[in-house]
């Protein structure tokens, strides 16, 4: 029972970390690469929001804060300390360069989740719960029903003043 509560808290923290940083870094504003544009348009055609579609496309096509959150949790768990999160940030930075994406969302997300895990580990929520939490969090955005999740992302993006740039 204790494990389930830990996983639930870690899921919420991971979801907030990657969604807020990705939107703040402007993922719903414009597609970073060409494939992201195609995925965004496809989600809009199926009844979703264009900003949310670009958000999904950018996550698929280059390592953003979602990848940073997962890999920093993996690094923290594997190395047994915050240094793993810093190594993950370096890997995500290289991944961004390889995908020709100019953003720094992935590196920022990796560093912020490393800090969050460091605090949470004092309360008994260890990094392995964050690894599961991130997989559940990405399932809610990318895996369940794209029109609905893209509308939710579009709504949050408009609240944070990150509209699609025409």
């Amino acid at each position: 029972m204790n494990e389930i509560i830990s996983i639930a808290i870690a899921t919420v923290l991971a979801w907030l970390n990657f969604v807020l940083i990705d939107i703040w870094m402007g993922l719903p504003e414009a597609p970073g690469v060409r494939g992201a544009k195609a995925i965004g348009k496809s989600i809009e055609k199926r009844g979703g929001d264009l900003g949310g579609g670009y958000f999904s496309g950018n996550i698929v096509c280059s390592p953003d804060a979602s990848a940073g959150t997962l890999l920093a949790s993996c690094g923290y768990y594997g190395f047994g300390g915050p240094e793993g999160g810093l190594i993950a940030a370096l890997f995500v930075y290289f991944g961004n360069r390889m995908c020709a994406d100019p953003g720094y969302a992935g590196t920022t997300g990796a560093l912020s989740i490393t800090f969050i895990i460091w605090i949470a580990s004092h309360f008994g929520i260890t990094p392995n719960y964050f690894i599961v939490g991130m997989v559940i969090a990405i399932l809610t955005i990318q895996g369940l029903y794209h029109p609905l999740s893209s509308k939710l992302i579009g709504k949050i993006a408009r609240k944070m003043d990150r509209k699609v740039i025409k």
Partner: protein
């Protein structure tokens, strides 16, 4: 143990969705979730620095592959429709 069970259920569900989906662009986010799950399982089964580095390399290279696939699909559509 419960962590691996949850991720295994998510991966199986995503594989089923991947099989029944016809639209190639709609499949890409599902594939992305599977990549997340596999990278997570690699570290959960090998809680060591090498396991963590393996899942980082796996995930970054899987993303580079997904980027190339999405680019190719958009290019093929452009050629087909003259968009």
């Amino acid at each position: 143990m419960i962590e691996e069970t949850i991720i295994a259920c998510i991966i199986i569900y995503m594989v089923l969705r991947l099989f029944i989906t016809q639209n190639r662009l709609e499949r890409m986010p599902y594939l992305n979730v599977i990549n997340f799950g596999v990278a997570a399982v690699i570290t959960l089964r090998n809680p060591s620095p090498l396991g963590a580095i393996t899942s980082m390399v796996y995930f970054i290279l899987a993303t580079v592959g997904a980027n190339a696939i999405a680019f190719t699909i958009s290019k093929v559509k452009e050629i087909e429709h003259g968009d």
